[in-house]
């Protein structure tokens, strides 16, 4: 049964969280097929930076351990290389599921400090505002999401790279490029957000 907020399990292997994930995460229904072979976790380029890896994350979902799942850094360290997706013997769309879990984690407030979440926020702002991404703008927004001082520090750290990009005429210096129909796009996004919210509320 769907719910606006994913249900937290009571005891181990309380299946309410697992069933919510199966039904509400894009591709989540295939998690049921996972046979815990480890192919996905073994394929992660930065698997060593993950606390659980996708394989164990799926077992935690089955075990109803919502908190452990949504606070896991596994979600955030996916580089989207899609190795696991093409190798999974049960054809589970691992990357998409991790993306879906990331959205839930952000929405439910489990991941305020995640770099990816901050970066995504900056990125999405640019998309919504201009219809296109301006790398310069996104990067700046991202850096300053850590506060003014940290933002300046990171900006300075990356100045040499930025300078070279400018020199190679690959960093745009004028106003951000924009799609003329950015307003249309915003309307579409707003409608899509509305649909998702409605669906969550309907359950």
């Amino acid at each position: 049964m769907s719910a606006a907020i994913a249900p937290a399990g009571g005891s181990k292997y309380d299946l309410s969280f697992a069933r919510w994930v199966y039904q509400n995460i894009d591709g989540g229904d295939r998690i049921s097929l996972c046979m815990q072979c480890g192919m996905c976790s073994g394929s992660c380029p930065i698997g060593t930076a993950m606390d659980h890896g996708p394989r164990k994350l799926f077992m935690l979902i089955r075990a109803g351990m919502k908190e452990a799942v949504l606070t896991s850094d596994t979600i955030w360290n996916c580089t989207q290389c899609y190795n696991c997706v093409v190798r999974c013997p049960r054809q589970i769309p691992v990357t998409n599921i991790l993306q879906g879990l990331a959205t839930v984690a952000v929405r439910e407030g489990y991941a305020p400090q995640q770099p990816t979440a901050k970066f995504s926020k900056a990125f999405w702002l640019s998309v919504k505002r201009f219809g296109r991404t301006d790398e310069r703008l996104v990067t700046a927004l991202y850096y300053f999401s850590y506060g003014l001082k940290e933002g300046v520090r990171r900006g300075l750290d990356n100045l040499p790279i930025a300078w070279r990009m400018v020199k190679a005429k690959r960093m745009h210096l004028g106003l951000p490029h924009r799609a003329k129909g950015a307003a249309d796009l915003r309307a579409i996004i707003a409608k899509a957000e509305e649909i998702e919210a409605r669906e969550r509320a309907e359950g």
Binding site: S11, K12, Y13, D14, L15, A18, R19, Y22, S32, L33, C34, M35, Q36, K56, M59, L60, R62, A63, R90
Partner: protein, 755 residues
């Protein structure tokens, strides 16, 4: 009997003529053995050569064809000639291909092989088939579960009459209890309707099948084609003549009372798979304790199985059964929660689809070992994949997936004394071989538990070897050979279904069909006096000269197939249709009074003595008695590889090392052989002898040779046994050279020249 007229046919092809002088060989045949008819051919297996042989036989010139050419393993069909016996001297693989051409020793070796073949012919007569006593083509099927019903129906459909006996009052066995069965048809995802009623109806309607309920076998005597089986049904004890027997006595669930550690008995809501099956069949999944519907259910796999303290083997079907039941529960109640706790999930073949179907249906599989099950139905386990101990609480029902125990013995009935089962023959946990280890890898041994309770013998065989069928290991009926899984040590009696190994209904049905074929085959061959596997079609059988028999009983004891009974006054009596023609009895007989028409101690002795033993010290002679099925082909393999072989070795093929009589050994020693090697198959737990015990018996007999050697003032090294498999062709030259080195060290036989 017709007079023997031997003809010797010398082939010069494939390098033989280049290696040895055919003139010299002809001289051996004609001058030494006075063979009247000797022909040469440069290509004997070609059309002309074969025509010449068959012409001579047809003309009555020859009725014993001695082919001095290639190995007996090749061209057997070409050299067949209607109405003649064929003997082979292997001058190709074992002379021309392994010896230097033109050498003196090569010539002597070839001459010796020809002598051996002619000597064999002189002592051999064409076998006459055994045709005595009554013959029945009726098949007895014991047990009317899925295996027995299928076997009966399969045999009947091929035209055979079947007597199907069932101990209980109903036919159908365990299969009748299943609400559904595992899928056999694509896409292999859903439990399938149980069609046992259809099979029962077909069996009951089949005019060729006679079903007897509440009926059991109390006694079985005789052999294929002529079993006399005594039944007991109510007060009756009818006696039937039976051609062959299919044993389909199936299995029983492992006693759950022994599974207290998994919570059985602690709560009425800890049940077995079978108990759950009854609930599913009744479409009422309610707790015994309080009648509440069971909605949260855990299956505990390997309940008793794969456990050295209980059933050491995997019961094979439990994973599939739990998956089937879990799917049924999920389908009936979409809000149910179903867990399967497993250690190794085993759904081989297309059953993997079934596993995935259960996962897709939301069944949760948890890998790990159960530590305890509380009376409150909390399962405490090591969750291997979460990496922590967890308590699975809130369960309504726990299902123990109990394993299968083979019914290799009957359940003791009124009036019958249970007799202890024979010891299992092999240790399935014998350590593997490791390089450099003289002993073995230390393997944890399970406590020796007798998992099979003693029961009445299923057939109560009136055999010298006892009333039970041999048990291989873990209580399963004898089925040792990978290539020949149906072969048992009791001819004409075939086991099928979970009696042989744990298997599901579909496999059991397939297995039963195969067993029915073997039964039909046994009947047809018995009718013609032909032997069964592995000497299929052999007409010869052992004949015992009772006037010289000392009633020592060695033949009856040693026969691996229990083919020889004893008369009340202690004389051995052969059941030719049970006999597999290995000759172990012949090897056992201390007074060499057991012989086949075409195989005897006298013949082997003559062959051994046919070899000329030179007196020179630098020309030792080693006799190799090689098992025809494995060691002898290994010599051929060495020949095909053109591996140089020691020229002092004389190889004689024997049916089985079990047929080698110690008298052959002592005769060989006394005529001056410097050494004797017995080459047979691997013995022990993974024995490879097709006659079960041939090489083991030979080794045991050899252990007694010591005294004889001592009395002849000979060293113990002069007689040794080696285990050689067919794949050891590459090792053979070294084995022989090493042995010749031993002979060189101990020197020539002191008996040389006295023979």
């Amino acid at each position: 009997m017709q007079a023997k007229k031997a003809g010797v046919y010398l082939c010069g092809g494939c390098g033989i003529a280049e290696a040895v002088s055919l003139d010299a060989l002809e001289a051996v045949a004609v001058k030494e053995f006075k063979v009247a008819h000797c022909r040469r051919h440069e290509f004997l297996c070609g059309e002309d050569g074969v025509r010449a042989i068959r012409g001579d036989v047809a003309a009555g010139t020859v009725n014993q064809v001695v082919v001095a050419a290639c190995s007996p393993r090749v061209n057997a069909d070409r050299f067949q000639a209607e109405g003649a016996q064929v003997f082979r001297a292997n001058l190709r693989e074992q002379v021309a291909w392994t010896q230097p051409p033109g050498a003196e020793n090569t010539a002597i070796l070839a001459a010796d092989y020809l002598r051996i073949a002619i000597a064999e012919a002189q002592k051999s007569s064409p076998p006459t088939a055994h045709h005595e006593g009554p013959h029945s083509a009726r098949i007895l099927v014991v047990g009317a579960g899925i295996s027995g019903l299928t076997a009966a129906r399969a045999a009947a459909r091929a035209g055979y009459h079947v007597l199907l006996v069932e101990q209980s009052g109903e036919i159908g066995g365990h299969a009748r209890r299943w609400s559904k069965r595992m899928p056999q048809k694509p896409p292999y995802q859903a439990p399938q309707d149980n069609d046992i009623d259809r099979l029962i109806a077909m069996v009951e309607a089949d005019p060729r099948i006679e079903v007897r309920r509440n009926c059991r076998v109390v006694k079985t005597a005789g052999g294929p084609g002529q079993f006399t089986v005594t039944l007991r049904q109510d007060a009756d004890e009818p006696e039937c003549l039976i051609g062959a027997i299919v044993l389909a006595t199936g299995w029983r669930p492992y006693d759950p009372e022994k599974l207290g550690h998994l919570g059985y008995g602690a709560s009425p809501d800890v049940v077995t798979s079978l108990a759950l099956e009854d609930m599913l069949a009744a479409r009422s999944l309610k707790r015994k304790s309080d009648g509440r519907p069971a909605r949260t259910i855990a299956f505990v796999q390997c309940a008793g199985s794969r456990d050295p303290n209980h059933l050491p083997y995997c019961s094979s079907v439990c994973c599939g059964v739990s998956i089937k039941q879990a799917l049924q529960i999920r389908e009936a109640d979409p809000d149910s929660s179903v867990y399967v706790i497993y250690e190794e999930l085993r759904t081989p073949g297309v059953a993997e689809e079934f596993y995935r179907a259960a996962q897709r249906a939301g069944v949760i599989f948890i890998k790990g070992g159960v530590k305890r099950v509380g009376a409150d139905l909390t399962v405490t386990m090591d969750d291997a994949l979460l990496g922590e101990e967890i308590a699975l609480a809130g369960l309504d029902l726990i299902v123990l997936a109990t394993g299968m125990v083979p019914n290799a013995a009957g359940i003791a009935g009124a009036g019958e004394e249970p007799s202890p089962l024979p010891e299992a023959d092999i240790d399935p946990l014998a350590p593997i071989a490791v390089a450099g280890c003289t002993g073995a890898v230390p393997a944890p041994r399970p406590p020796a538990t007798q998992i099979i309770v003693a029961g009445t013998p299923l057939l109560n065989l009136q055999y010298r070897q006892g009333p039970h069928l041999p048990i291989l290991a873990d209580g399963f009926a004898d089925s040792h050979f990978i290539c020949f899984p149906y072969e048992t040590r009791r001819s004409g009696i075939y086991t099928c279904g979970p009696l042989r190994r744990p298997m599901d209904m579909a496999e059991a049905a397939e297995d039963a069909t195969g067993a029915a074929l073997k039964a039909i085959q046994a009947i047809r061959n018995a009718a013609e006096g032909r032997g069964l596997h592995p000497r299929a079609g052999d007409l010869s059988y052992p004949k015992i000269g009772l006037n010289t028999c000392t009633k020592c009983r060695r033949c009856t004891v040693e026969c691996p197939f229990g083919a020889i009974d004893e008369t009340p006054d202690g004389f051995p009596i052969v059941n030719p249709t049970r006999c597999r023609r290995c000759g172990t009895c012949m090897g056992a007989c201390p007074v060499r009074t057991i012989s086949f028409d075409n195989y005897s101690v006298e013949m082997l002795t003559a062959m051994i003595k046919a070899v000329e033993i030179p007196e020179e010290d630098d020309k030792p002679r080693v006799l190799v008695l090689a098992c025809q099925s494995d060691a002898y082909p290994a010599f051929d393999m060495a020949g095909i590889a053109r591996s140089p072989m020691n020229a002092f070795v004389r190889t004689i093929a024997v049916r089985c090392l079990g047929s080698v009589n110690l008298l052959c050994i002592s005769e060989a020693l006394s005529c001056g052989y410097d050494g004797i090697l017995l080459m047979g198959c691997k013995s022990g737990d993974d024995y490879q002898c097709h006659f079960v015990k041939g090489s083991a018996i030979a080794q045991e007999r050899l252990s007694k040779v010591g005294e004889t050697l001592k009395s002849m003032a000979l060293e113990s090294e002069r007689v040794q046994s080696v285990e050689v498999s067919i794949a050891d062709g590459g090792r053979l030259p070294k084995i022989l050279d090493d042995y010749l080195a031993v002979i060189e060290r101990i020197g020539p036989s002191p008996l040389k020249g006295f023979g």
